[in-house]
Subunit: 335 residues, 2 copies
Amino acid sequence: MTDTSPAATLDIIAIGNALVDVLSAAPDEFIAAEGLTRGAMQLIDADRATTLYGKMGPGKEISGGSAGNTVAGAAMMGARCAFIGQVAADQLGEVFVHDLQSQGIAFTVPPRAADVPTGRCLVLVSPDGQRTMNTYLGAAQFLPETALDEAQIASAKVLLLEGYLWDPLEPRAAMKAAIGMARKAGRQVALGVSAVFCILGHHADFTALIDDGQIDILFANDEELIALAGLDDFEAALAALAAKLPLLVVTRGAEGAIAIAKGERFEVSAEPVDHVVDTTGAGDLFSAGYLAGHVHGRPVADCLRMGAVAAAEVIGHYGARPEQDLKALVAATLG
Amino acid sequence: MTDTSPAATLDIIAIGNALVDVLSAAPDEFIAAEGLTRGAMQLIDADRATTLYGKMGPGKEISGGSAGNTVAGAAMMGARCAFIGQVAADQLGEVFVHDLQSQGIAFTVPPRAADVPTGRCLVLVSPDGQRTMNTYLGAAQFLPETALDEAQIASAKVLLLEGYLWDPLEPRAAMKAAIGMARKAGRQVALGVSAVFCILGHHADFTALIDDGQIDILFANDEELIALAGLDDFEAALAALAAKLPLLVVTRGAEGAIAIAKGERFEVSAEPVDHVVDTTGAGDLFSAGYLAGHVHGRPVADCLRMGAVAAAEVIGHYGARPEQDLKALVAATLG
């Protein structure tokens, strides 16, 4: 991970699904009646999105998308960020782009014609804050390789890739090309594996990338780690993957998080939260805090705590974008 | 206010601006630099909406509109409601309609062509929760009289009119026609005067309606009461208007609220709130609670407390639509 390339002008450039979340409180009975798996994310088509939306209660529309949430959080903590994703030329697309640009995050991919609308994620929030996500990818699934700006990717310390985006063909090709651009420029590549279903669908691909040394930083939760390692035991999975990755960061919900950096293990507890309202974005914001510390050269223990602070903020309210000043929260917690 | 008409099948039918709020935290310095009056509402045109949105931070899109907020809250407390307003055939229009219909609120006005988009209110939320509103009316200003369904209006115990909508020509004509329909059917007419600037712009009109006995229930805050009465003293203004109205309900922010019903005065304290996040919709939700009690024949003191409970809920989070189960909150507070 020695950086011998020219001084970076960006800290993080992320490629991810450009989505607006539609968040609505829902009792667990509704989630069961709709045949959904509580806590999971599933892809849905346009018809199902219309039907499910019609059954949902009143919503709040808040920009989302896993990697988008991460750069939103990291930018709030002082990281210089850019985002690559595909919106349509419609109102939700304008909302998504506005919400990134208003935080100083570079976003230059032109909107696509609105024949396929901007993607959205219908998020059902249970009374205990657990979220069940139903994603209509819309325009996001058509992100073309031509959307990449090699000079921009080469200018960022870290290229962050969203596992969810591995599913559709065009964005996957774009992300593979982006990895090549980042590595050629001597930059780091971070992968958030996003969800167990992503890993099951692309196990060989993810494993090959890791085995080939294409990934410098991997973000996963405990279930994803186990699925990726193909081992039942958490500690065994941790050891197996840590051996192949310069930096492995694993979140464990209320149990905190673990980082293994060049073989050395660090742990952090979860930050206390008064009342969990909505867990949407908890993992994304953990990554945001971690990366914001990492790109500023902070020690691993600090990066973990920054991740914990950012994750705790975002689960205290609806939506996956931070409401409170994360920089101030980090300063108050870490000094 | 004796109701000799056929049994009502609706409790409240409201006519108001169909708006989606775009809520964003903003320091008071930003509000000052933009030349805005903290705490006020002003109308803006499409160009100014684009410019101001471009300067605002990341937002949350949540359905709004004063009368829309009131029926959303009243429906949550068990009132049977309908809403009349104009959206465009666009994504924000779909959001607005969905959020009402998903609460069982009848909404039958067809969307207008999207050449003029659905209206939105850019809400800047100060650190102390005060909101400064900038409304681009969009399609809402073109609500035509033909959108009224006389049978539907005649079927509701209370017709609620939004003062903000007095400004544009077509909706004003529609509301005047609706008053005639409601009165012909022996129903009550409630007016929320919305804002001091509405009163200043339409003082003669509002006064004539009140003097003619066209208004049964008036909702105002203390400043609006003073502007409407044209008197400097709050108590004098209260007495002057109470003499002309069967029911006058005046909210006073943290000081609670007063109702004068057929000359008898009732007061309620504000409900305690842990942390004021965003005062958008406080008055609208007070009206919601009051009317939900009123249409169910509850005593004035109960109606006031229901208003206070609903208002306290909505200022505890972003957005003017309730998040918590208001019916349960009312039951817990009033029994």
